[in-house]
C-alpha cells in the first residue's frame, strides 16, 4: 500500500465575477509515494505545490481526479488521525502560548492529560523551543512560529506528514535542525512529503522527488537518477600551466573555458567529446601538474530549470487566453 497516491488530480479555480473562467491550478497530477520515503515535491512559486497539499488535506476539493492517503480517501477522519500537516507560513492563535496550542491540538487527538503533558514537552524540546514555550504566540518570530508549526504537525506521531515549505523563515541553524528532525522521522518509519522551492533541501533529504511546473508534473524519480541525468563534461584543475599551452588547447577546442585560480593554477572545463586523460598527459608533458579531475553533471538546479522551461513553453502554447495565476 502506498502512503500517498493521486490519480489525475485536477483543480480549477473560477476567476472573474461576471464571466468566470477556469484557472488551472493543478492539472492531472498522478503520483505514488511509498511508505517510509522522504519525498520532495519541488517547483517554483505558483507551480501548484500548495494546491496539491490543500487537496490532500481537503482544504480544497478537487475538480476531478482522486487522492488516497494510507489506502483511504483523503478527508476521512481515520486518515487525519494518522497524518500531520504543516501549512506554508503557519499562523496560530495570538493569545495562546506554544504550550497551550500543542495541548489544544493534542486534546483533539484524544490524548489524556498526562500523555499530553509529556508529549508537548518532548516535542517543544525536539523543535528547539525552550523557555519561550509559555509566551503568547503573537510575540513569536516567523522562525519560531515555523518550529511550533512543525511540532503541531507531528503531535500525533503521524505515519505520514506533509510539510509545506518547512525551512521557510528558519536561520541556517534552524534549517539544519529541521533537516535532522525530518531524517529522524524517516528513521522512525514516518513518510515525509514536503514541498519546497529550495533544491538544496531536497538534495540533502529526499530519496525521490517530483517536480511540478505550471500545475503539471514535469518529472519524478530517484534523486540519484535525476542528478546523473546528463553528464556535461569534465572539470580539470591544473597547476603550473603555461599561458601559451592553455591558449593552444583552447584554440583547438579541447577546453570550453578556463577559470584562473591564481598562481598559474586553472580550472578547465573540458567537453564530453574530449578524453580527459590524454589532455592531462599532454599538459603534464608540458611541465604542468594535475590537481584534480571531476565529472561535471547537470545539477538538480539545472535539471529543474530545464524541466520548468519545457513545461512552461507547452503550457504557454496550450493556455493562451487563460486567466493569470491568483494563487498557487
Amino acid at each position: 500500500m502506498d502512503a500517498i497516491r493521486t490519480e489525475a488530480l485536477t483543480k480549477h479555480y473560477p476567476v472573474g465575477f461576471w464571466r468566470p473562467r477556469a484557472y488551472v491550478a493543478l492539472d492531472g497530477l498522478t503520483l505514488d509515494v511509498g511508505q517510509g520515503e522522504v519525498f520532495g515535491f519541488l517547483g517554483p512559486n505558483g507551480a501548484g505545490k500548495t494546491t496539491t497539499l490543500k487537496l490532500l488535506m481537503q482544504l480544497t476539493f478537487p475538480t476531478s481526479g482522486r487522492a488516497e492517503i494510507l489506502g483511504r480517501p483523503v478527508g476521512d477522519v481515520s486518515v487525519k488521525r494518522r497524518t500531520g500537516y504543516l501549512p506554508e507560513n503557519p499562523y496560530f492563535y495570538d493569545y495562546l502560548s506554544a504550550e497551550e496550542l500543542l495541548h489544544y491540538f493534542a486534546s483533539l487527538f484524544g490524548y489524556g492529560a498526562a500523555d499530553r503533558r509529556r508529549r508537548v514537552s518532548d516535542l517543544l524540546d525536539e523543535v528547539g523551543i525552550g523557555a519561550e514555550r509559555r509566551l503568547q504566540l503573537r510575540k513569536f518570530s516567523k522562525g519560531m512560529l515555523q518550529r511550533v508549526g512543525i511540532a503541531q504537525a507531528i503531535i500525533n506521531d503521524p505515519e505520514v506528514v506533509f510539510f509545506d515549505e518547512p525551512m521557510s523563515g528558519l536561520d541556517p541553524m534552524g534549517r539544519r535542525e529541521i533537516r535532522e528532525l525530518i531524517l529522524r522521522l524517516r528513521d522512525r518509519g514516518c513518510t515525509v512529503f514536503f514541498s519546497s522551492h529550495v533544491l538544496s533541501d531536497a538534495e540533502a533529504l529526499c530519496s525521490r522527488v517530483a517536480i511540478v511546473a505550471s500545475g503539471r508534473l514535469a518529472a519524478t524519480g530517484e534523486l540519484s537518477e535525476i542528478l546523473a541525468f546528463k553528464a556535461l563534461g569534465w572539470e580539470v584543475v591544473m597547476g603550473g600551466l603555461d599561458d601559451a599551452v592553455l591558449e593552444s588547447a583552447t584554440a583547438s577546442g579541447h577546453i570550453d573555458r578556463a577559470t584562473a585560480l591564481g598562481g598559474r593554477r586553472y580550472a578547465l572545463h573540458v567537453p564530453l567529446s574530449v578524453a580527459p586523460d590524454r589532455l592531462v598527459a599532454e599538459f603534464v608533458s608540458q611541465g604542468a601538474e594535475l590537481v584534480s579531475v571531476n565529472p561535471v553533471r547537470e545539477t538538480l538546479e539545472e535539471f529543474y530549470m530545464r524541466k520548468i522551461g519545457a513545461v512552461s513553453r507547452d503550457r504557454g502554447l496550450a493556455d493562451v487566453g487563460k486567466a493569470p495565476a491568483s494563487s498557487e
Binding site: 487525519k80 503557519p90 492563535y93 493569545y95 483533539l108 484524544g110
Partner: protein
Amino acid sequence: MRLIGQIAVNVFKESVRDKVLYNLVAFAVLLIAVSYLLGQLTAGQDMKIIKDLGLAAIASFGRLIAVFIGIGLVWKEVERRSIYSLLSKPIRRHEFVLGKYAGLALTLLVNVLVMTVAFYAILAYLNTLYPESIQVTWPAPATDPGMLRAILLIFVELLLITAVALFFSTFSSPFLSAALTLGLWVIGHFNDDLRSFEAVVESPVAAYFARGLYYVLPNFGAFDIKTQVVYALPVPWLYVVTTMAYGCVYIAMLLTGAVAIFSRRDFK
C-alpha cells in the same frame, strides 16, 4: 461532542485573553455613574429608569460582542490560515462551526451572568437608600426576580444574533457580515409591522411580499420584554418558553445553513 467542547473552550479562552470581558467593567461603571446621577435628580422614580437602562445595557453590550466577535469567528481563522492546521486534525467541518458557535455562546453566557449579578447588586444597594414610603410607590421591588425573564430572552436574542453573524461570515467578508447582521437585526425589530403591512398598502403583491418577509426574517422584537418587566406587567412563562423555542429553531436553521456552506468551501 468532545471535539466541539474543546473547540468551544479554546474560543472562550481566546475571547477572555482578547480582553472581551473588559466590557463588564464598562457596564458596571456606566450603571453606577447613571445611578448616582439619577439619584441626585429624581425622588425615588429613578428605580424604573435604572432597571430599564440596566436591562438595555445588558442587551447592548451583549449585542456588540455577538456581532463583532461572531463575524470574526470563522473569518479570522480563514484569513490568518490557522484553520489549515486545525482542519488537518481529526475534526469534521461541522464540528468546527458548532464548536466556534458554542465557544461564543459560552463567552456570552459568562458575560450576561456577570452583568446580571452586578445589576442586581447595584439595585439591592440602591434599595437600601430609599425609605419604605417611597419603595411602596414602585410598581415592583428593586430586585424583582421577574426581570430574569427579560434577561433570559436577551440571552436567547444574543444567541440568535451570533448565529446570524456566524452564518453570514461563512461566505462573506467581515464588513459585509456586520452590515447584513445589523441590517437583519434592525428589520427584525420591525417584524410586527410587516405582518400588518396589508392594512396600509393596496397592492396585494406588496402585502404578500411583506407577509412572506414576516415569516422568513427573525422576529427580534419578540425577545424585548424590558418595558413589561420594569412596569411589572404580566409576562406569562408560556410566552417566555415559546419565544425561546422560536429562537432555538431559528438558531438551528442558521447553524444548519452555516455548516452546509462551510462544508463545501474551498480555502484558496
